[in-house]
Amino acid sequence: MTLRAPPPLIGTAGVEVVADRRKVLLGGGLVLGFAFAAVKAHARSTDQRVNNAGAQPVSNKDVADVAGAGFVGFKPDAFIRISPQNQVTLIIPNVEMGQGIYTGECMLIAEELEVGLDQVAVVPAPPDEALYKQPLLQFQGTGGSTSIRGAWEPLRKAGAAARVMLIQAAAQGWGVNPAECHAERAQVLHLASGRFATYGQLVNAASRIPKPQQVALKDPSQFKLIGKPAPRIDTPAKVNGTAMYGIDIMVPGMKFAVVANCPVLGGTLAGVDDSAAKAIPGVLQTVRLPNAVAVIGEHFWAAKQGLDACRISWNPGANAKLGSPALWADMARVAQAGPGAVAVQQGDVAGAYKGAKKQVEAVYRQPFLCHAPMEPQAAVVHVTGGGAEIWAGTQVPSRAQAFAAKVLGVAPEKVIIHNQLIGGGFGRKLETDYIEQACAIAKQCPYPVKMVWTREEDMQHDNYRPMYLDRISAGLDADGRPVSWSHRVAGASVTARYAPPGMKPNGVDPDAVEDAAEPVYGVFPNMLVDFVQWHPPAGVVVSWWRGVGPTHNIFVVESFVDELAHAVGKDPVAYRRDLLRNVPRARAVLDRAAQAAGWGSPLPARTGRGVIVQKCFGSYIAAVVEAAVSDEGDVTLRKITTAVDCGLTVNPTLVRQQLEGGILFGLTAALWQGITLKDGRVEQSNFNDYRMLRINETPPIDVIHMSTANPPGGIGETGTTAAAPALTNAIFAATGVRIRELPIDRALLKKGAKPQGAAVLAPLGVAAAAALAQGLAAKAAEGEP
């Protein structure tokens, strides 16, 4: 898939040109297909579905052409390609899944390369760990709100080095001092002599210039593009139906697969009688996998009808009677028994707790969550002699390549991955299960196959955000400040499953304690944070979900800090301000959000404001949610205010979009979402029983963007981490009911309802927790594992 803008129309100031380009294109009726104009039209086939789908990224030859070894032109590094025709193509290391990274990373390169956003084409990076390893993640992937933080220097340096080489090439040719030349809109100019050359004219000469080891980057005051709300480059194709996602790929001769995975997680296929399916017109064949059945048809509908007509029997296996209450009980047992792996320990936690003026304890529970991106899982696989071509959206191209190769029994380099736009990631496409399954199916078929999961499969066979059980306690001094802090996190470890080398040697999963071990308030004087890994039954798989560790921990910490404020009769904003007296960036966003939200101004009955402040992914954010609770317990969102300091900003539009969308994503989960199991099966199946927030339930959102000169912070997940505690704190303000378990149980919010649920779970005594941890520390000191 390639995005390419048309030739420049006017002017030299990048932002304005891009804005005008859109106007012109829209006014001129050229909306259809413009952004994908460069996608090579697939050779016409007799297949009307292929011909009519418009521009087809079938071969993705563009990626091979520009990212491959055969590219002819100037290729100073992994990211920049300039052809003799002056076509600038940027190879974008991160994947576009809605967060706007194609635009953001283009801006980083274009700023220093001195090209307009309207002058560049974009291709996604092919699988290549050596060239495209994400500097923070240390593998080729997009996630953890790391893209801009990782790309900020390398991509600008790439642009700057290329520009220096192009200028030097021109200056040499003209016999002038490079310092007298400058670059602008893909040209080098020597104003003194009136000479200029396009980058395309310089590709050969520039290719002979050694790459400079050191390049000076622009001072932020010189930025032309960075910091401006440049229009997104991926969106025109997304409003006229021409954007292609993995699920949209059409390959000549392709057939469609619809899948039933064993409904009991971890179960296997016993047998299938497909005689009725075979009688359905359009059904081609049945594919048996160890844990699933796929029916192949001429189209999705035939395959689906065929699958529904199959009589399938399953071996449910060990999870046949598994249910959520048993999982919670098991996790509670494990959490209590410990031992906990220590993430932070200092001071005398138990002693300070005992001696404190006031003691507060609480237990919080958070459910399994499914990702449910709008685009259900899909992949197209064409198995060819000795290898395969795969078209799918993935956040981890090289991992997908390696895992697909394993299924296919071929070397990774025999598998070509054509990465596609992603219709919502949220962590789902860090997994490769859908690609692996499509490979397993296609392996048994004599034609290319597009596997499409129904929404029901997507929801019932996801890898889920872990359930968490957090026990937390604090001792407060006479001023209400915590002098003792103890927090035990229990849950399944995503790191241990997905990236085992990321585990600490002592058993701490850094993701599971992120922002619990280092709260925004800093480390408390006597503090213990430990982690107990719970092992879910085989077949129940946990995964990264938007906001990763911080989504879970900020709910706990910011709910609990709210509890502390109320326990000592202090205003939640004033209480946090005091704790943040040495954290000026956090205090600044808190003050700004509180002021803009009208904190402290009167509200109607059963209406309240909840506040949170957080530092995560390198950004500081405060949020205020205003919500009303009816006498029946229904929650209405009235207003959301958030202030963000994410340091230097590449594109403020993207920051706002991510904050808005991230908050709504988190509120949706808090209000309605939890995956539960009964008899080993996921009880939820589609949007009717796994509710999504809708437009009529969405309040106005005010995002206050406080630009600072700090290094850029991540933004894609920060709204999500902020959402739930801001809402439940607002509910407490409105009703006096403390929500300690998600999703929010409306029965607790009915007027006059008695507190129940998570609130009555016995907290683990802080002394017991400390003793357990100390026991572990003593063991470690003795050299035991």
Binding site: R22, V31, T235, G241, F300, T653, E660
Partner: protein, 152 residues
């Protein structure tokens, strides 16, 4: 299987399909019009919204045999209608779109709203758009973009 003729985006298109096959899959898998998206298959998300004689319908639950001679318009051609063009323009000006997967359906629902209610109120927007889920949370911008389009 029956041979049917559909009026799609002003063209007569032929397909050999079962009469109960939802229009969505005829558009996507037989005619290759993949701009119309599959999200839920049970009329819950609106990703599959198309216009049938100008009315927004969920094509995932509309049997193709029920379309008859009616004119089907998909997102690929809605820009040729005044309301569709206004909608797409406002969508870009207000930067509504994130992943974009729901936006075909959002644009179709909004264009149908604007065609019959040129100056919609917030309540009109709620009613017309509540059937379209956006997982990326673009709702506040959708609301503003509809208002912008109404003014243009």
């Amino acid at each position: 299987m029956v041979a049917i003729v559909l009026n799609v985006n002003g063209q007569m298109r032929q397909a050999e399909v079962p009469p109960d096959m939802p229009l969505l899959w005829v558009l996507r898998d037989v005619l290759g019009l993949t701009g119309t998206k599959y999200g839920c298959g049970i009329a819950q998300c609106g990703a599959c919204t198309v216009h049938v004689d100008g009315r927004p319908v969920r094509s995932c639950v509309l049997p193709v045999s029920a379309v008859g001679n009616a004119a089907v318009t998909t997102v690929e051609a809605v820009g040729q209608t005044p309301a569709g063009a206004k909608t797409q323009k406002a969508w870009l000006e207000l930067e509504v779109v994130q992943c974009g997967y729901c936006q075909s359906g959002q644009v179709m629902s909004a264009a149908a709203l604007l065609a019959r209610t040129p100056s919609p109120t917030d309540a009109d927007i709620d009613i017309a758009m509540a059937g379209n889920i956006c997982r990326c949370g673009t709702y506040p911008r959708i609301r503003e973009a509809i208002k912008r389009a109404a003014k243009s």
